[in-house]
């Protein structure tokens, strides 16, 4: 099992079956992706014309390829897949990625084709990721099988298991362009004809390159096996799942998307709780939570403090915190005195921290910095959210004090969020995130993330 996962995620040599010299064709984009990510292993292509594409040698048939190739990626149309799988098996290539769609997710004919494919896989003894997948990404190996134009994917410690081709493609492009974190492994499962989420979850659980695992699934192929693996991994690393098809209408959409049949969602809910899997309900959380886990620790609990220059936010975000299972507890008396010393006497300082008066008296950096240090030092607080209100008139502070405080308090997450001039918010995010402080454009987002991670923490430390 481990050896097949290594061939998939840490290959030394790969073959692209259906290599193409036509820009934009999957067999061409894939070779460019492999080159752009600096894959150090051997790369071969197969195309009846032979020659060379993107600098890689092309063979006319699978049979002509060199021996001992770890992995083949097949970009041919669906109807050629069964025969190609057999040919790869005969050549001794064990790990295959099948890109084509047009199987059971489409119609009855596709279903029959998928049955043929299953027979080919069983007969040739190969292991298959897909079909109907944009492929996978493995940055520790500088490798991707994605045929969606990606360019250089940033490396990080977050891994994804996803039952949508969208992930190794457009979702990665979103991460790369809108966020500042990298990925370790990303597996697009597709129709899961063979390799499933349980097998990959087990691999990622043992993977030293993976610090946290996020999943998007529309069904669970072997539920009992999945729960058994998850029960172990969830004690070691955050395991966070978005389950598509939790409503009746969503389940119908899932059937059309990846040919998935749903189980009773409430039973699934119970099983996930038993296995310590933290369930989420928003697609965007796959990114929002990942970027927090990429640079910040999991909070030790659900007790949050936040700083805001707006009375409305101290009220609304306290309400919202409660709805997310967070507590906004009273702070220690010495913390409160420290905050009061920064504030004009007419503002009574407490948690949440109304920072408006302090900023007026001491300036941005001094007021925010001291107040953050005070609440971060308080034993009653597990995490701190900083709401910034940035406008040209108010002046734009130097954000290094936030980076320094994050280093001073490495066990407590600090998240930043905004209300104000968008141009300054974007610049602040772009400055802070590469330096290890996640920033969220919408004011509720950091609280949602903390709510999820507090549940995650409880799962990680649940009694045996």
């Amino acid at each position: 099992m481990t050896s097949i996962m290594r061939k998939l995620f840490e290959p030394r040599s790969v073959a692209v079956i259906g290599a193409s010299s036509t820009p934009g064709k999957p067999g061409n984009v894939l070779l460019k992706n492999i080159r752009d990510n600096g894959f150090p292993g051997k790369v071969y292509g197969v195309n009846p014309r032979g020659g060379e594409i993107e600098g890689y040698p092309i063979f006319k048939t699978i049979d002509e390829l060199p021996d001992n190739i770890d992995q083949a990626i097949i970009t041919l149309p669906a109807q050629y897949n069964p025969a190609t799988v057999r040919a790869c098996g005969a050549k001794g290539i064990e790990a295959l990625v099948l890109a084509a769609s047009g199987f059971a997710e489409v119609d009855h004919m596709g279903g029959e084709l998928q049955d043929d494919l299953a027979a080919a896989i069983a007969e040739s003894g190969v292991r298959v990721l897909g079909p109907n997948t944009t492929g996978h990404v493995s940055m520790p190996a500088s490798f991707t099988s994605s045929f969606f134009p990606l360019g250089q994917v940033p490396r990080g410690r977050i891994s994804y298991i996803t039952q949508t081709g969208n992930f190794s493609g457009i979702s990665l492009r979103h991460i790369m362009s809108a966020e500042n974190y990298g990925v370790a492994r990303v597996a697009g499962l597709g129709n899961k004809i063979d390799i499933d989420e349980s097998e990959i979850l087990e691999y990622l659980g043992d993977d030293p390159e993976t610090a946290a695992i996020l999943l998007y699934l529309e069904n669970i192929k072997h539920p009992n096996r999945f729960m058994e693996v998850a029960a172990k991994v969830t004690r070691e690393k955050p395991v966070i799942l978005l389950k598509g098809g939790s409503s009746d209408a969503g389940a119908q959409a899932a059937l059309a998307h990846t040919a998935s049949l749903a189980s009773d969602d409430r039973i699934l809910d119970g099983a996930l709780a038993q296995a310590g899997v933290t369930r989420i309900y928003k697609y965007s959380h796959l990114f929002q939570i990942a970027k927090a886990l990429a640079v910040m620790p999991v909070p030790a609990g659900n007790r949050v403090s936040f700083l805001s220059p707006s009375g409305a936010f101290t009220v609304c975000m306290t309400d919202f915190s409660r709805s997310q299972g967070l507590d906004v507890p009273p702070i220690a008396e010495n913390t409160r005195k420290r905050l009061q010393s920064l504030a004009p006497p007419f503002i009574r300082m407490r948690n949440p921290v109304d920072i408006y008066g302090s900023v007026g008296a001491h300036g941005y950096e001094h007021a925010y910095g001291d107040a953050m240090d005070a609440v971060l030092s308080d034993k009653a607080i597990d995490a701190v959210v900083v709401i910034m209100m940035l406008t040209g008139e108010s002046g734009i502070p130097d954000y290094d004090f936030i980076v320094d405080l994050a280093r001073k308090h490495p066990k407590k997450p600090i998240y930043v969020t905004f209300m104000g001039d968008h141009v300054h918010n974007v610049a602040c995010k772009a400055y802070l995130e590469p330096r290890g402080v996640p920033a969220y454009m919408l004011v509720e987002e950091p609280f949602e993330v903390l709510g999820v991670l507090a549940r995650c923490r409880a799962a990680l430390h649940r009694p045996r």
Partner: protein
């Protein structure tokens, strides 16, 4: 215990039954330690009077047969019988409502009093296998759909967590002058239902509804065991 349960199931299967009578259903859950109402199965009015005397009035009288799963809809349940006269009247009423072809028995049952009703169930999910449900009971079960599930085998810790998961979980607390429910009884019952599911694959479904909270202790006053194909 398991042997006794197996005997009840075997007898029912031999009879061609898809469901067990309330009496047999309760014998099965009671064998696994789930508290059930005190009751006696009787065939005649004389036996019913004798049973009521032992159980002590007030009592409940129910028609009890394998095919009378919907006792309430057919009106085969009369509650709050406080003496022999009431019992005799109820016996005649139920016998009449059940019809001439009725060949079932009658169940004389203690009247369990309490304002709070909850439910427990076991169902067999195609993917996860035996799963146990806990939720608000009585007539509100279907309206509120306020339930939580766990998959067998269930540990006590999971069962405890489950009790806190329903929206109406405060029903188990000390509210409106009522005592806090002794939740360890529910935890044991949840674990037990999961075990029944694992021990007896012939059982496809169990419905215990309601469990009435008497003081601080839940007691199953109705139960239905459904057998698989």
């Amino acid at each position: 215990m398991a042997a006794n349960v197996a005997k009840i199931i075997q007898a029912a299967k031999k009879n061609g039954q898809r469901t067990l009578s309330e009496y047999d259903s309760k014998r099965i859950i009671a064998a696994y330690g789930i508290p059930v109402s005190r009751e006696r199965l009787v065939g005649t009015l004389a036996e019913a009077k004798d049973a009521a005397k032992r159980i002590k009035y007030p009592v409940v009288l129910k028609g009890c047969s394998a095919d009378a799963a919907h006792k309430t809809e057919k009106g085969l349940v009369v509650v709050g019988l406080d003496g022999q006269k009431a019992l005799s009247d109820a016996f005649a009423t139920i016998k009449k409502r059940a019809g001439k072809s009725y060949d079932g028995n009658y169940l004389v049952q203690e009247m369990v009093k309490g304002q709070r009703e909850i439910m427990l169930g076991m169902t067999r999910d195609a993917q996860f296998g035996p799963s146990v449900m806990f939720g608000l009971g009585g007539i509100f079960t279907e309206i509120l759909q306020d339930v939580a599930f766990r998959v067998a085998p269930i540990r006590k810790r999971d069962a405890k967590q489950m009790l806190g998961e329903i929206r109406g979980h405060r029903i188990l607390d000390a509210v409106r002058g009522m005592k806090a429910v002794e939740t360890s009884i529910l935890v044991d019952a949840i674990v037990a239902l999961g075990k029944i599911g694992l021990d007896h694959p012939e059982i496809s479904e169990i419905d215990i509804n309601p469990l009435i909270i008497r003081g601080d202790k839940p007691v199953a006053v109705d139960a239905l065991v459904v057998l698989g194909e």
